[in-house]
C-alpha cells in the first residue's frame, strides 16, 4: 500500500442496502423480484405492537442470473429491525428455497444480514427459522448449492448464524461477523467480565470475518466490496459442486468440531486461537489486508 497515493473507496458491501447489494452483485438488469412491495402483507405482528412495518418485511427475494448462471436469491436488510426474521420475512425465504427444490437453479444465494429471530414475533419467528434450516438442507440434498454471503452491519447471528453454517459455503468479508449469541447477549447474560461487547476490536477478534476464515468456518474471505463478493461467489461455483449428503462426511465434521472444542475451548480471545494455529504475530492479524491474510492462512501448518 502506498502512503501518499490517492485512495478511492469502491462499492462497500457493508454500507449498501439490500437492494443495492442485489444490483451490484447480480448480472445487470437480471433481477426479477418475487412478492414485490404491495403484493404481500406487511407484518401484522409489528402493527399489533403499534410499529410501522416495511413493504418487503426486511427481505427481498427473486430470480436472477450471476455470470450467466440461473440463481435464486434472498437479501436481508440489516437496517430494518436488525435484519430480524419475522413470520413473513421467514416465509419468503422458505418459499424461495422450496422453489429452488422445484426449479433446480444453478445455485441459491443468501445475502445474510441478520441478528436472528425477530423477538417481536416470538414463536412465529422461531418456527420460520427452523423451516429455513430444514429448507436449506432440502435444497442441498437436491444437488443445488446454497451460498451464504456475510458482510453486512448485522452479520449472521442467532438462528441466521446457524442457517449460514448449514449452507454449502460461507463467503465473508472482514467486516462480516458470524456467531450464535450476539456480543450484547453474552454480556447481558454472563457479565462484562465474560465479554465486553463495547470492545469492538475484541468482538471482531472473536466473531469477525478474519477469525472465521482462519478457523475454517468460511470458505472465502473477500474484500468489503460488492464486486469482490460477486467474484468470490462465481469462483466458488466454478470450482465446487454440491456433494451428495453422506453420513461419513457428517461424522468427520462432528469429530473436527469436537477436537476444536478441546483444543481452543479455554481461550478467551481470537489472539490466543491464532497463536495456537501457528500465527507468528497474532496481534498483527487485525491490521493485515485481505490478500496478506489469505496468504498467511495458506502458510499455516495443516
Amino acid at each position: 500500500m502506498n502512503a501518499t497515493n490517492g485512495f478511492t473507496p469502491g462499492h462497500s458491501y457493508f454500507e449498501a442496502t439490500a437492494r443495492q447489494r442485489l444490483q451490484q452483485i447480480l448480472d445487470a438488469g437480471s433481477f426479477r423480484e418475487f412478492l414485490a412491495p404491495e403484493t404481500v402483507e406487511v407484518s401484522p405482528h409489528l402493527a399489533a405492537l403499534d410499529l410501522p412495518g416495511a413493504f418487503d418485511d426486511g427481505v427481498i427475494i427473486g430470480a436472477a442470473s450471476l455470470g450467466g448462471r440461473r440463481v435464486l436469491v434472498a437479501a436481508q436488510e440489516g437496517r430494518f429491525m436488525g435484519g430480524s426474521v419475522g413470520e413473513i420475512h421467514g416465509a419468503k425465504i422458505v418459499g424461495l428455497l422450496r422453489r429452488a427444490v422445484a426449479e433446480r437453479p444453478d445455485a441459491v444465494l443468501l445475502l445474510v444480514d441478520s441478528g436472528g429471530v425477530r423477538l417481536h414475533e416470538a414463536n412465529a419467528g422461531l418456527i420460520a427459522i427452523s423451516e429455513i434450516m430444514r429448507a436449506v438442507l432440502t435444497v442441498r440434498a437436491a444437488g443445488v448449492p446454497v451460498l451464504a454471503l456475510v458482510g453486512g452491519s448485522c452479520g449472521a447471528f442467532g438462528g441466521m448464524g446457524i442457517v449460514a453454517k448449514l449452507c454449502s459455503a460461507i463467503l465473508i468479508s472482514e467486516e462480516g461477523r458470524l456467531a450464535l449469541s450476539g456480543p450484547e447477549v453474552i454480556e447481558t447474560v454472563m457479565g462484562v467480565e465474560e465479554f465486553d461487547s463495547k470492545d469492538r476490536a475484541l468482538v471482531w477478534r472473536v466473531t469477525g470475518g478474519k477469525h472465521r476464515y482462519l478457523m475454517g468456518d468460511c470458505a472465502e474471505l473477500v474484500e468489503d466490496d460488492s464486486a469482490a463478493f460477486r467474484l468470490g461467489a462465481l469462483e466458488y461455483l466454478d470450482t465446487h459442486g454440491e456433494p451428495e449428503p453422506s453420513l461419513f462426511t457428517l461424522r468427520a465434521v462432528q469429530q473436527h468440531l469436537s477436537d476444536r472444542m478441546v483444543r481452543f475451548g479455554a481461550y478467551r480471545d481470537g489472539l490466543e486461537v491464532w497463536a495456537d494455529l501457528g500465527v507468528a504475530q497474532p496481534q498483527q492479524v487485525p491490521l493485515l489486508d485481505r490478500d496478506s491474510l489469505v496468504a498467511l492462512k495458506k502458510g499455516l501448518p495443516a
Binding site: 502506498n2 502512503a3 485512495f7 473507496p9 467486516e175 475484541l202 471482531w204 469477525g208 487485525p286
Partner: protein
C-alpha cells in the same frame, strides 16, 4: 519619609514555596515519589483556601492526581478554590461533594454537567465564572494564579524534566503561571525514562513527579466515524463549500467537532477539488488532528495544521507528516491549547461549528435544562475579534458586506451549521433558548450563550444559507433566520414575501440558487466512508482505538 519597602516582606510567595517544600521534606517525601505517598504529599504542600489548578481538558486528564486529591482528608484540606479547564471526571465532582473544595472557576463540564447543576442548586459549590479557555488561561496570569498545580505528562527523567508528547495541551500555560509566581508544580507521568525525546517543561519549573499506576486518560473526542455521516450532512457540506468557502476564499480556519464539519473535511479532496478549489481554500488550520482530515492532507489540500491537543491513534500519522503538523526534533507532535486558541481567535478568517439551539437573534447555546455544560474554546474561535488589524481577502470581503465599501475593518466569518431538527424531532430554531431558564435556576448574571448572535455571519441549514452580514435591520435578520429554519415552528412562521425578497437579494440562498441538486448529495462524494478507509488512506499510519474498529 520612610521608604515603604522597609515595612513589608516582598517575597512572601517564595517563602511560602520554601515552607511547603520544607513540610514535604520533613516527611521524607522525595522529589520523585512513589504513588503510595501522593496523598501525604498533597496534604503537606497544599494549604486550606489554596487556589489549585488541576489539569484536565476534553482530552488529557491528570486523572491519578485528581483521584488522589479527592481522597485527601477534608479535615486537613478544605475550602480549596479549584481552577480547571474541564470538569470531566467523577473525581472532579467528588472534590466538592467530599468538602475538600468550595469554589470553582472553569470552562467546560461535559459529562459531569448534571451532577454539577445539582451541586449548584444544593449550594455545595460556588461557581466563580464559566470561562472560555483563553479567558481562563488569561486569568491564571492575573487574579487566579494557582498556589499549586497538578499536571500530567508522558514521561520524566531523573532530573525532573518533562516530556508531554503530542498531548501537550494546557500544560505550558498552567506551569508558566504557577512556577513563576511561587507556586508548587506536581506532575503525574506515565513513565520514567533515562533520556527524554525532548524537554517540554524544564526540571527547574517542576517540584514533584509521581509515576501514576495507570497511563493518564485521554478521550478520543475528535474522532468521527465517516460511516455515520448522513446525506443531509453531505448536502449542507456542499452548500458550505460552494456558498461560503469558495465565495470568500477562506484559507485560514477552525472547524468545530461534529459530523457536519467532518463531512466538509471529507468533501475537500472530492467535491471541492472538482470545483477547482485546491490551494484556494482550507490551506491553514487551527484544529486538532481529526482523522477525517487525512484524505484532504493526503490529497495535498492542506498545508499546515496547529493543534490544541492530539487525538488518540493519530500520533504516528502526525509524526510522519511534519510538513503539515508542528513537531519537535524528536519527530513527535507538540500541541499547545493556548497558542492554538489564540490562532483560532486572531489568525483565522472563519469558524464553522454546530449548536443545539438558536434563537431569532442568532444567539446559540448548547445549554440544556438541568445541565451546566460550559463553553470550552468555541466562543474564542466563534467570535469576531475587534482588535484584529491584519488583512486577508476573506476578512475584507466579510467586513465590506457588513459595513459597506467604506468599512474601516474586516470581519471574521462565524458560521453556524445545523440541521433544522435534531434527532427525536427536537427543533434547533427556537423562540427562547433553554439558556435563559438555566440562568434563572443557576442564579447567574448572564445566560450561558455559546456564540452571540451579533458575531454570527452565516447560518447553513438543509434549506439554505442565510448571510446575516447583508441584513440591514434586526427585522431582516429575524426573517433571514426564519427563512432557513425549515419546518420548525420558527421557520413556518416566516413572512414568505420578505423571505422571497431576501432570496432575490442573495441574503438567503437555496441549494438551487447555488447550483446544487440535493439528489446528488450522496455519501459517494465522501473521500472516506468508514474508519477503515481512513486507515487505508493514511497508508496504515492511523491506528484507530478499538471502539472505532469493525474489523
Amino acid at each position: 519619609m520612610n521608604p515603604p519597602s522597609s515595612s513589608r516582606n516582598w517575597d512572601s510567595l517564595r517563602q511560602g514555596h520554601a515552607r511547603r517544600l520544607a513540610r514535604a521534606a520533613s516527611l521524607d517525601l522525595p522529589r520523585q515519589l512513589p504513588a503510595e505517598q501522593i496523598v501525604s504529599l498533597l496534604e503537606a504542600v497544599i494549604e486550606p483556601g489554596d487556589r489549585v489548578c488541576l489539569e484536565g481538558n476534553n482530552q488529557k486528564q491528570a486523572d491519578f492526581l485528581a483521584e488522589s486529591l479527592a481522597s485527601c482528608n477534608p479535615a486537613v484540606l478544605h475550602d480549596l478554590h479549584m481552577l480547571m479547564s474541564v470538569l470531566a471526571l467523577p473525581s472532579h465532582v467528588d472534590l466538592f461533594e467530599r468538602g475538600l473544595a468550595r469554589k470553582l472557576d472553569f470552562s467546560f463540564s461535559g459529562p459531569q454537567g448534571n451532577r454539577l447543576a445539582r451541586l449548584v442548586q444544593d449550594r455545595q459549590i460556588e461557581i466563580g465564572a464559566i470561562h472560555t479557555y483563553l479567558e481562563l488561561f488569561g486569568r491564571y496570569f492575573m487574579d487566579l494564579t494557582p498556589n499549586v498545580c497538578l499536571i500530567a505528562a508522558q514521561a520524566a527523567d531523573a532530573a525532573g524534566n518533562l516530556y508531554t508528547g503530542p498531548n501537550t495541551e494546557d500544560t505550558p500555560a498552567i506551569v508558566e503561571a504557577t512556577a513563576f509566581k511561587g507556586g508548587i508544580v506536581i506532575a503525574q507521568v506515565n513513565e520514567l525514562r533515562e533520556s527524554l525525546p525532548r524537554v517540554d517543561v524544564p526540571a527547574g519549573w517542576v517540584d514533584f513527579v509521581v509515576v501514576a499506576p495507570h497511563p493518564n486518560y485521554i478521550e478520543p473526542l475528535f474522532t468521527r466515524d465517516p460511516a455515520q455521516i448522513t446525506e443531509v450532512q453531505v448536502l449542507m457540506a456542499m452548500m458550505a463549500i460552494k456558498g461560503i468557502y469558495a465565495e470568500y476564499g477562506v484559507k485560514r480556519l477552525n472547524h468545530g467537532i461534529g459530523f457536519d464539519t467532518a463531512a466538509i473535511e471529507l468533501l475537500l479532496p472530492t467535491y471541492a477539488a472538482d470545483l477547482g478549489l485546491k490551494g484556494k481554500i482550507c490551506t491553514h488550520w487551527a484544529l486538532n488532528p481529526h482523522p477525517t482530515l487525512i484524505p484532504a492532507i493526503e490529497a495535498g489540500f492542506i498545508e499546515s495544521v496547529h493543534c490544541f491537543g492530539s487525538e488518540v491513534g493519530m500520533d504516528a500519522y502526525t509524526a510522519a507528516r511534519s510538513d503539515v503538523f508542528f513537531t519537535g526534533a524528536d519527530g513527535s507532535m507538540r500541541s499547545n491549547r493556548a497558542f492554538s486558541q489564540t490562532a483560532g481567535l486572531y489568525a483565522c478568517d472563519m469558524f464553522i461549528g454546530s449548536t443545539l439551539q438558536m434563537d431569532l437573534a442568532g444567539n446559540s447555546s448548547t445549554a440544556t435544562l438541568g445541565r451546566i455544560a460550559g463553553f470550552g474554546g468555541a466562543p474564542n474561535m466563534g467570535s469576531d475579534p475587534h482588535g484584529r488589524r491584519h488583512v486577508s481577502p476573506a476578512w475584507l470581503k466579510a467586513g465590506r458586506e457588513a459595513s459597506g465599501s467604506g468599512a474601516i475593518r474586516g470581519r471574521k466569518l462565524v458560521v453556524q451549521m445545523v440541521e433544522t431538527f435534531r434527532e427525536h424531532m427536537a427543533p434547533v430554531f427556537v423562540d427562547r433558548l433553554d439558556a435563559w431558564a438555566l440562568q434563572e435556576s443557576m442564579g447567574a448574571e448572564l445566560p450561558p450563550i455559546m456564540i452571540y448572535g451579533d458575531d454570527v455571519s452565516h447560518i447553513v441549514t438543509e434549506e439554505g444559507i442565510a448571510n446575516l452580514l447583508l441584513c440591514r435591520s434586526p427585522e431582516e435578520r429575524e426573517q433571514a433566520i426564519r427563512g432557513v429554519a425549515g419546518f420548525t415552528k420558527v421557520g413556518m412562521a416566516r413572512d414568505k414575501r420578505v423571505v422571497e425578497n431576501l432570496r432575490d437579494r442573495g441574503i438567503i440562498r437555496r441549494p438551487a440558487d447555488l447550483g446544487i441538486d440535493p439528489r446528488l448529495a450522496t455519501r459517494d462524494l465522501l473521500a472516506a466512508r468508514s474508519i477503515k478507509d481512513l486507515v487505508r488512506c493514511s497508508g496504515g499510519l492511523y491506528a484507530p482505538p478499538g471502539r472505532f474498529r469493525n474489523w
